[in-house]
Subunit: 359 residues, 4 copies
């Protein structure tokens, strides 16, 4: 099923939404990195349901238990097993979905692929699967920051449907993003975005948007042409998150409207440091980091599970209608911000270790 | 350097632009697939320089020699080695680049990563590296079509800078695309696009755009959640191509402007086949193909190498100016169309074999 | 740290001897395979300490909890997480080893590699790590037997130090092996072997030996030349078990005493089945199974941890002496039998799935 | 078909015995390593047919052409493609084998697996495939010696059938081994071994033996428990060579005759260096190098292809007899010595790079 990611720093996630629990095994973490359950919990709390009025009210503590690989607050260099037990399960909310496929959800394709499916809670296709990623990402960040003290990734909500936040990726801080429940970096957009999500939710509908992310403190030289270009691995990591439909780095799709002369980033010397005057490259050239901020955007579609009645079919291929019940996110973006950052850490730490091996 | 791709159907490409040659080893190709050098040559000819007046006039025959893995027109199940020798090299055109870094090219980042660089022809960062991919993709296509007779991937130029082709992905044919040198599917846009490229080129400038691709005949069930989702692997494959800045599938970035009710694809029965009335999912749900056409778009930036003078620095970190010489593409998109298709074939064949193993 | 094994059927083990627990994530298990915790427990009970008078008296229930990937007794095709909590820990027995390196154990090399070490219980270097393998192997066996009903692997103790069991690999049964606590297939050797182990143990010493294994019901065609030959992957799997020093297949080292004429296995037809009259090849030719029984042997050294005083050094590089305390196996072979079988299942299921993909 | 090996330093070999040629792509080689075709040729000459009167008289120059990855005598950090064209092919010698399966050769199993087979020259199952390994190994050695100046691997013929060389692994030199065509380290055994091979060959028969290898200059800390133990990866590498039947490290199978007290290697301080007084561990403890010489042995069976008539079957499953013709090695061991060393270099360089990443 390919729940593995990474060449040297490898994670293997496991778990269904309504099973015993979800978790991850992190293999290839260097030894002697300071690590505690609190490091994991901070990120898991940013991801968990019930954290604010605009996310699903499911009540999950999402307490991470470190099963192995850490002793007296330090990593051993051995695999780090992490388990989060599931607690708040209401399988009754999934009665109709036992037979009816949710439009644009994974219900039908899981059946088509596996011939079996954990209906309750969405099983493995639930966003609950990302707990293992977020826990793994928290470890990856600790590894990176142990050597690269200026390393950080700051993701934030750039748009919700038609609402666009005005954020400068070169100055936005994690504190600014974390100061509001929608996790945007533009104070003026906090209330409008909250209002929009609240409104859409009250209608039993859903809404999507774009998350932007800036990565700072990455030295030049990370990324492995040809296939494991840094933007290719970042793109894959982001597109592996549930509900994503697009990824762009630097100038992205709008960069296609410029000519080469307009698009190219001139080099100059900033003291003894090589810099570019503009950053349409988004911090990556030829698949390799150039030392500038890495900037990218990810498109998240409106959540598939809505409470409005829709036409669909059953698993025995009869036409029917379905109005979902249960407690679902009307907009995944606020909770997706830590997921995006986690995937960044996982990609970067792997490339960092690979470069260490070759340098 | 990570020039490997694939889990079961694996390619390893090699070669610098101005070295002995470029090529690929394809490992994991099933036995008894009909294969000839002509199968490869057809795709390589679509990729090669000098094929039309709007691409680089470099004269490369790009003749593929099959070194192994094929006997009497059939694959043996053993690795298929393929070599294309380089012929038309003019290292003199790279004199200035020996020291000056091209803005937004890989010159600086290769030096930062490797501490050494094959300047002439761009070395490994040259688009010439994609020859191995195109040859490998041609083999992948043969494998897929040997079992899935309706399988095909049709890529085409959707936009060049501000010019947008009007193409219906559900009906466009490979013949239509191949009938014009710009490889767009909209007859009305052929001349405007050719004129634009010609104009930009005459100015020593460059231009980018968007390639759209439709994949047909893919059965439901391909794609491996969690990390190896079909869109994630397609995204990575596309973003590993030179000059790419973005990838989106189905509704993509513009899908974020819809609500869930508007975005969801209703299921219905078409005879005994499960279908969706719309295809905003782009043929993939939960990371797994649903049997509808897979549709995605890739953004290509304007080529970095332009003949206009730009400010930059040297490899000894002094500020300078550079106006490139040599024979470069002012727009890579017409030649990128077969590259996109090749990457599709490589991703799909790998997922096809993986699904065969599990089913 | 590389606690992953397999291409399609992949296991990731985790856990230290005296940490929270040990376990495994099995990724790539096909869906709809019948599986219960009892399936795992049977094999874990064969592996666990305290099972008989000739193994370590540590009291571990080794109860396996399935965390994910199984619903209503069937695999889902998603990762199967398994956890066994540690219960009987006596860290006081490891006081001396906090500083003194056990000769021929992993104490020194773990420090040399990681710069940190979980002293208590041996941490990750403990044979307790094999719990994840045995659980994963039990699943692998279920997958294989669901399609290959005659598939089985029977391992047994062939020698303990100088004592050699007389066992015919072509007829020995699992029941015969399991009928005695030393797990040999020769009734005449049961008491002498038990006596030897008991004697050696009473002296605080240890003893090794050879395990032989026969694999039946494997169809021709499994194994991937060149590097992933079946004997190469079996050899790696066995040599990855603690305390192993050698591996041989078929005629092995003694086959080097024959000429080609004497060694070659003549083909003949047994009805419509291709057979060989002898089996010096051990069921594998050119790295690929030929349909005959696969037979191999593994050498296990005498356990490193003994209670007799030995000269050694401390972790601050001072010379000292050490007499281990604690409850250790004087002979690992009876408990290693299920480990060997588990590794066989893991190797075979991976090759079986790989061959399914290509056929 | 799995012709890839390695995690960071990865080789992909290709080629059939009687096709265009054989070769390798080496991916993950660090940049700025001095490398020339002469470095490869030295090792290829030790491997090639026709080098002495006791090996097959096939006349192959085995000239290596570096296709990529090297510029002005230095590696670029990009994939190194290497091609050796086949020249001396006599397909007529394989007429009978078109239908008759050679006993104990790969003829039958290749047909069983692939349903197709390159008969002439043995195709991919020919020892000619090892050219890519030997070339890759020569590069690996350069990488290792660029940082570890005392690193070396010396393999030598330990036994030919019943003849045993008396060689001290701690003092034997490459010059001593290379001074005689049988490549043993015992001057007294050179003539007896040559005589035996000559005699066996004159009878159209074949003979096997054991190669021993010592690896020096390996620092403590290489090897990745759990599955990628150093001895496990060495074992897999050796057992992936044609005609191998066994592998043992340090005390190996005979170590099972000792008690723990007799077998354990006491630690002591040699100045400021940690040493062991004996080396029954063979330089590896807990899967990790301990800084002592690594010593192992590999069993090679007598070659399957003999000129004596044997009973066998045809590919249409009729019983027949076969006496091979053609020019075959009566004993592969003298030519296998550089193959063993090459596999050592490939395993060690990969573990060296992996440890660099984690340290």
């Amino acid at each position: 099923m390919a729940s593995n990611l990474g060449t040297l720093f490898r994670i293997s996630t496991f778990g269904e939404s309504h099973g015993v629990g979800v978790g991850v095994v992190v293999d290839g973490c260097p030894p002697r990195i300071a690590l505690s359950e609190a490091d994991l919990q901070y990120e898991l709390d940013r991801r968990r349901p019930g954290q604010s009025k605009i996310v699903t009210p499911r009540k999950e503590d999402d307490r991470a238990e470190i099963l192995s690989g850490v002793l007296d607050g330090q990593t051993l260099g051995t695999p780090i097993g992490i388990l989060v037990r599931n607690t708040d399960q209401r399988p009754s909310a999934y009665t109709e979905m036992q037979t009816a496929y949710r439009p644009s959800h994974a219900d039908y394709t899981y059946d088509a692929k596996f011939g079996i499916r954990a209906v309750s809670g969405g099983g493995r296709s639930s966003a609950r699967e990302t707990i293992g990623r977020v826990a793994g990402g928290a470890i990856a960040r600790k590894v990176l920051q142990s050597t690269l003290p200026n390393y950080e990734a700051v993701a934030y909500v750039k748009t919700i449907q038609g609402l666009t936040a005005n954020v400068d990726p070169s100055t936005v801080t994690a504190e600014q993003v974390e100061s509001n429940i929608v996790r945007t970096g533009d104070p003026a957009m906090v209330e409008p975005m909250i209002d929009l999500i609240t409104q859409v939710r009250s209608e039993g509908n859903s809404v999507g948007g774009v998350i932007e992310c800036v990565i700072r403190g990455v030295p030049p030289g990370l990324g492995e042409p040809v296939f494991d270009r840094l933007e290719a691995d970042l793109g894959k990591a982001m597109l592996s998150l549930p509900a994503t439909k697009g990824f762009e780095v630097g100038s992205g799709f709008s960069g296609t409207l410029l000519t080469g002369r307009e698009h190219n980033d001139e080099f100059y010397m900033d003291g003894d440091r090589v810099r570019t005057r503009t950053n349409r490259s988004g911090g990556i050239q030829g698949g390799i980091s150039n030392g500038e901020d890495i900037v990218f955007r990810v498109a998240f579609k409106p959540t598939a599970t809505i409470l409005i009645e829709q036409k669909t079919i059953t698993n025995t291929h009869e036409e029917t209608t379905l109005a979902a019940r249960g407690r679902h996110d009307a907009c995944v973006l606020p909770r997706a911000v830590p997921m995006v950052e986690a995937m960044v850490h996982l990609v970067l730490v792997d490339h960092w270790l690979r470069q260490k091996a070759m340098a």
